[in-house]
Symmetry: C2
Subunit: 153 residues, 2 copies
DNA sequence: GGTCATTAGTTGACGTGTCAAGTAAATCGA
DNA sequence: TCGATTTACTTGACACGTCAACTAATGACC
């Protein structure tokens, strides 16, 4: 008769699978984006958030909430992307504490190119690996996990 | 009539959800483990891998493959955990290049305690947020994503 | 058995993120 | 309306990983 060890609990493995799937996917997609355009996946994530904004501009505040970074982390990320000329800080006219972040023309251009590359990667490494029904289910399940674990720091 | 922008493609959002679910979950579980036992989630991951090994011992090689780290990263991670007394390096008798990593008594003890905490967290933040069927589907879907994106460096 | 290539793991230099303290502006309250 | 909080962001010190170069041992082949 076998001992059933607590470390072998299947729920731990479920979580482990999520971690591993995330690690593998981000790794591949990051590599593809870097090779094609020299763009780190994290930069792309920020460009995407800004590019999707209604007025083409986002306050730091919202970028901090949207990315899983601390405020200091976002400050530095924006520093680098700004230095690369893809993004610019714009002072907010109504609240001088606030910095808006907007895409430069080069940033717009980069976002378009990068999205094409990224989309090919997602299709190949994520969508094609699953049945259509499974993709649909993922889209139902994942938001529940996001909503549930609540805010951060 | 609305323009459909390429950046709004739903597949990008699907991937984004995976990233966000991962970020939120690991953040919560890391905090819980740190608060309860002062143990970072990454340390737990390594302890778990070692603790699950058939002979209670794993060569660095396998830890590198199992975690999503580079060899240098694992060397330093093991350095720190070893300095904390939870793990020890054991020279391999048949191949003097190889270092085996095994749990110390304190490491065993920590692994047991941490697993209890971790399991409560997974239950609360992951399992309870989903229906039983959804958990089952996750367990079918995630391995496909892992297998598909292949190896690393 | 002696070269050559390969494999395991470590290390120095560095990039990127965190934490906590700091600055400046807005807001709240007597 | 003026001091006390709070909010938005930045910064210095530091923790943690990566990359590429390095050491040591093994294996392969002539």
């Amino acid at each position: 008769m076998e001992e059933q060890r607590i470390v072998d609990d299947e729920r731990i493995t479920t979580f482990g699978r999520l971690v591993e799937a995330h690690a593998r996917l981000t790794n591949v997609l990051d590599n593809e984006l870097r090779e094609a355009l020299g763009l780190p996946l994290r930069w792309y994530g920020l460009l995407l958030h800004v590019g999707r904004s209604p007025h083409g501009v986002r306050p730091m505040k919202e970028l901090i909430e949207a990315t899983a970074f601390t405020s200091g982390g976002v400050t530095r990320l924006v520093d680098r992307i700004e230095r690369a000329g893809l993004v610019q800080r714009l002072p907010c006219p109504t609240d001088r504490r606030v910095q808006h972040v907007g895409l430069t023309d080069a940033g717009q251009e980069m976002l378009q190119r990068a999205t094409a590359v990224h989309l090919r990667g997602i299709q190949e490494h994520m969508i094609d690996a699953l049945d259509p029904g499974e993709v649909k289910r993922l889209n139902e399940i994942l938001p529940k996990l996001v909503a549930q674990s609540g805010g951060r720091r």
